[in-house]
Symmetry: C2
Subunit: 287 residues, 2 copies
C-alpha cells in the first residue's frame, strides 16, 4: 500500500514533531490519525454510530465522508488510523475551503480552561460575530495557472468584511495574490448557484439540522470543493461543487435537543452565500 501526504489540505492537523499526519492512498482512501485526549475515540465512536444509524436519510448521508473502519498503518509507526473516503481523490484541480461551524467551538461539559481558550479564539475570529470562521482555503488561480492559499495568520484575523471577500475570492478567476484587485466572482452561478450548487446543498443540510437531535457537531467543519479542470476545458457547468462535513472529534449526544449552535452558523453561512448569488457583481451586499 503506497501512502502519501494529501496534496490539498487547507486546515487541521499535519505531520509535525514526530506525530503522524493524515495520509492518502491511490484507491481513494484517506487515513486520519486518531487524535489524543479521547478525541480520536470520540471521532471513531461518531463514525460507528453514524454509519449504523438507520434514521439518517440517504440524501443527508452523502454530505459525510464514507467510513471504512480503523486500521493499523505501516507509514505511521503501526498506529491505528481512521480510514475514510478521500474527498478530493476525484478532483484534478480542486478549490477547497474549510469553514469551522458554530458561534462557539466549546461545549458545556469541557473544562473551564478549555472553554476559556476556545472562547478567546472564538471572539478573536468571526466565530462569535458570524456563527462560523474560515479555517483555511486554497483556490486555483486561472491567471497564474497555479494554486493560491492565503496566509493562515492573516486569515485568522479577518472580520465580517473579510469573510465576504474570502467567499468571493473562492469563486473568482483572477489573480488573488494581488490584494488590490477586486475578485471577479466569475464562478458564482456554477459553484454557489444552480440546482447542484453549494447553496442548494447547504439548504438541504439545514432542513436536516432543523430536526435532528442525535448529534451536536461541536467544532466541526463544512468543506466546500469544486473542480477547476472542467472550467479550464470550457465546461463551466461541470464543476462538481460539493459540500461535506468533516472533523468529528468533539461530537456529543444531542440529548433530544437540536444542534442550534451548528444550525445558527449554517443559516448565517447560507445568508452570506445567498447574498453573493443574488448580487454576483457587487463587492458587498447591504441588508
Amino acid at each position: 500500500m503506497h501512502l502519501k501526504a494529501p496534496e490539498h489540505q487547507v486546515a487541521g492537523h499535519i505531520a509535525k514533531d514526530g506525530k503522524p499526519g493524515p495520509l492518502v492512498d491511490d484507491k481513494g482512501r484517506f487515513f486520519k490519525p486518531l487524535q489524543g485526549d479521547s478525541r480520536g475515540e470520540i471521532e471513531v465512536m461518531f463514525y460507528e454510530s453514524f454509519s449504523s444509524n438507520t434514521q439518517v436519510p440517504d440524501n443527508i448521508r452523502r454530505y459525510f465522508p464514507e467510513y471504512h473502519g480503523t486500521q493499523a498503518v505501516d507509514g505511521s509507526d503501526g498506529a491505528a488510523m481512521i480510514v475514510l473516503e478521500n474527498l478530493l481523490s476525484k478532483y484534478s484541480k480542486p478549490s477547497v475551503m474549510d469553514v469551522k461551524m458554530g458561534s462557539r467551538t466549546w461545549y458545556p461539559e469541557a473544562s473551564e480552561e478549555y472553554i476559556q481558550k476556545c472562547l478567546r479564539k472564538d471572539k478573536g475570529t468571526t466565530t462569535v460575530s458570524s456563527g462560523f470562521r474560515i479555517s483555511g482555503f486554497e483556490v486555483y488561480d486561472h491567471k497564474e495557472l497555479s494554486f493560491w492559499k492565503p496566509n493562515r495568520k492573516l486569515l485568522n484575523g479577518i472580520k465580517v468584511d473579510g469573510v465576504r471577500l474570502a467567499l468571493r475570492k473562492f469563486v473568482s478567476s483572477n489573480t488573488l495574490s494581488n490584494t488590490s484587485s477586486k475578485p471577479d466572482s466569475a464562478f458564482v452561478s456554477s459553484v454557489y448557484g444552480g440546482s447542484k450548487g453549494i447553496l442548494t446543498q447547504l439548504l438541504e443540510l439545514k432542513t436536516w439540522f432543523e430536526n435532528q437531535t442525535f448529534y451536536h457537531f461541536n467544532s466541526c467543519s463544512i468543506l466546500m470543493v469544486y473542480e477547476n479542470d472542467s472550467i479550464l476545458k470550457g465546461d463551466v457547468d461541470d464543476v462538481q461543487a460539493q459540500v461535506k462535513l468533516v472533523d468529528f472529534a468533539h461530537v456529543h449526544d444531542g440529548n433530544g435537543v437540536i444542534d442550534h449552535n451548528f444550525l445558527g452558523g449554517l443559516c448565517s453561512l447560507i445568508n452570506f452565500i445567498r447574498d453573493i448569488v443574488q448580487n454576483p457583481d457587487e463587492s458587498s451586499a447591504e441588508n
Copy 2:
C-alpha cells in the same frame, strides 16, 4: 392618569429599593422605566429605529409591542419612561411565559467582566444547552381556579427535561403545584397547534430571522400568552395565543449578518414545541 403595577409580570425588573418598576394604565398602555448603563437609551433607540424601519414586513411587526414614544410619568418621580402597548390588557386570565432567547446572552463588544458573568449564568441554565432559558411563567390552574407561578430559584436550576416539563405545564389544566402529578397537556392543540397557534407564529418569525440583518436581539425574550377565560366558558378554540418579542436593552446593529444566536435558539424552541404538538399524550418525545 391612574397608573398601577402590572398584575401578571413573570420576569424582568420590578420596583425595588426606591427604583421605579413598570406601570400600566387603564387605556392599554405599559410604562417601562429606562434602565441605567445606557440600556434604556439602547431600548429607546431600538424602538425608534424599528417603528420607522419600512423594510420590516407587517406580518412581522405584529410580533413586537406597539411603541408610543417616551414620557415623563408622575408615578415614577417624573423620570422618563418608554410607553408601550400593554400586551396583557386584552386578557382576563392570561397564562404567560417569558423565554430568554439565544445560546449566549452576552455580546462580543461587552466588557470581559460582563461576558464572564453572563457566561456563568448561561452555562448554569439551559441557555447554552438548549439555546434559550425559561425566565418565568404563570399559569391559570383550572382545578384550583387560581394562578400558579413556579419558584424562581427552582426554575433557574432546571435542565433540558425541566424545560420539556415546563412547556407542558404551560398548556395543562391540572393542579400544577403538585409536583407528583403529570401535566395533562389539555390545551396543546389550541395553544401550540393550529393555524393561529404559537408554533405557526414561531415559524413565521423564523422565516424573518433567516433573512433579517438589521438587528441582533441579544438577551431578548419571547413572551407567550393565552386566555383562560375562553376555556372556562367552554370555547377552547378562542384562546388568543400570542407570541411577542420583548426587552431590547441589548439590541445591536446586525452589521449585515443574520442574528444566528437568536435564530438557533428559536429553531430549538420550535423543535421542543413541535415535539409536544406531535406527541400531546407523551410526557417526553424521543428523537
